[in-house]
């Protein structure tokens, strides 16, 4: 089963970046990938999607495969502020601060209550109260919603909970948004911090605050990544593959977890400026601006590797302008801003 989730109108794996989308009038602000569907969020609030829509994960029924980039989530002039994809589902926040989901989620991923496992169109999960902004994070079977304003920050989660990645004790699923943690900035202990980022692996989550300190970690953590050692540590960059975690601390990469496909091969490296993670590979930028990748590259997602896994940095691309990097399910995305091109 191969889907055209690169927006390239063919089913083949590619091992060299190809131009997938060329935007002239708007800027790409985010790329998010599910198991076999991909979405691109533009700064005008529109969303382009492609790939598998058999479960309605692109927000409409009747067309199980979207072969090339197509406007999605545009009913009633909807303006999308944030979006995240999981295995076969998508969650968005619109300009009225409504949180909506669609697709299929057998483990509570839609957040629509215990009885709803699929929805071919967007359904309201949660209405963010006035005065808050929302931000989404996602993984295979989970979604996390962060609400924040100047005074406080709340983090909600839903989806699979068999590894206590959301809440203790473990449960088969959390089928509607549940509060995971909250901060009150007027509390001296919180010291004006807020949640900045939630890094999510397959069965774990790690929360980083605005001072870049790790403040919470839950679930089946990658082996060697010990709570007592890492809580409170400051990191410049963090990213989770399904079964490993990667941090840049004081300019040095530190990785923990599954190394069967060389996922941990960059541990100790001081060359990476920043990086992003896919299901089992990483894509990063070196000091000199070159885009590289490492880890499991069987589908060409780490470039020309003879289909293998790389412990060396595999040089993927030399961007000409400002660049954002994203990893999907064995897919790699480079957004180059100067000419506003997305290569997949």
């Amino acid at each position: 089963m191969v889907w055209v989730n690169l927006g390239l109108d063919h089913f083949e794996d590619i091992n060299e970046p190809e131009l997938s989308l060329d935007c002239h009038e708007s800027k790409v602000t985010k790329v998010s990938c599910g198991g076999n569907h991909s979405v691109v969020l533009l700064d005008d609030g529109s969303v382009l999607g492609c790939g598998d829509n058999s479960k309605g994960q692109l927000g409409f029924g009747g067309d199980s495969l979207v072969k090339s980039w197509q406007k999605v989530f545009d009913k009633n002039g909807m303006i999308v502020k944030d979006i995240v994809c999981g295995w076969e589902f998508t969650v968005i926040i619109d300009s009225f601060n409504g949180v909506y989901s669609c697709g299929e989620g057998l483990k509570g991923e839609l957040g629509l209550g215990p009885d709803i496992r699929s929805s071919q169109q967007l359904s309201l999960v949660y209405q963010i109260p006035q005065g808050y902004q929302g931000k989404l994070f996602g993984s295979l079977n989970n979604c996390v919603l962060m609400l924040y304003n100047d005074e406080e920050c709340k983090v909600y989660g839903w989806g699979a909970n068999t590894k206590e990645q959301l809440l203790e004790p473990k449960s088969r699923k959390v089928s509607s948004p549940r509060l995971l943690l909250e901060f009150d900035n007027t509390n001296a202990q919180a010291q004006d911090s807020t949640v900045a980022e939630v890094s999510m692996g397959k069965d774990f989550i790690v929360v980083v605050d605005s001072k870049r300190e790790i403040i919470d970690m839950r679930g089946k953590l990658p082996s060697g990544f010990v709570k007592e050692r890492w809580l409170g540590e400051r990191v410049e960059c963090i990213g989770s593959m399904w079964t490993s975690i990667h941090l840049i601390q004081n300019g040095r990469m530190i990785s923990f977890g599954n190394d069967k496909y060389k996922q941990l091969s960059r541990s100790g490296s001081t060359e990476l400026k920043r990086f992003s993670t896919g299901s089992e590979h990483g894509v990063g930028m070196l000091e000199d601006g070159k885009v590289i990748s490492w880890g499991w590259g069987e589908h060409g997602n780490c470039g020309e590797l003879n289909g293998g896994n790389t412990s060396e940095f595999s040089k993927l691309y030399e961007p000409r302008g400002e660049t954002d990097l994203y990893g999907g399910y064995a897919t790699t995305w480079i957004v180059e801003h100067e000419n506003e091109e997305t290569v997949g």
């Binding site: 089963m1 198991g35 076999n36 295995w87 057998l106 295979l140 069987e298 589908h299």
Partner: protein, 82 residues
């Protein structure tokens, strides 16, 4: 045999019609294994689209409820001539 990961059976999806357990593969396809293969002690689920495999963690007793759900029986033991 080196598997990519170990997955507990409770995290897998069982389809009573096809009698297959499946679990997402990082490539976007699904690892799959027949319930009868698990019953016979073959605990490896394979992905049809790539080289990755997972080891399924389960007790044989766990399978009873899935056989009931599928309305079927475990395979008969192969008769061994004395």
């Amino acid at each position: 045999m080196s598997t990519y990961d170990q997955i507990e059976i409770e995290d897998m999806t069982f389809d009573p019609d096809t009698q297959i357990f499946s679990y997402p593969c990082p490539c976007g396809d699904r690892f799959q294994v027949f319930i009868d293969d698990l019953y016979d002690g073959d605990d490896v689920a394979v992905c049809p689209s790539c080289s990755l495999m997972i080891q399924v963690i389960f007790d044989k007793d766990d399978l009873t409820e899935y056989y009931e759900e599928a309305g079927s029986q475990p395979p008969e033991p192969i008769a061994v001539a004395a």
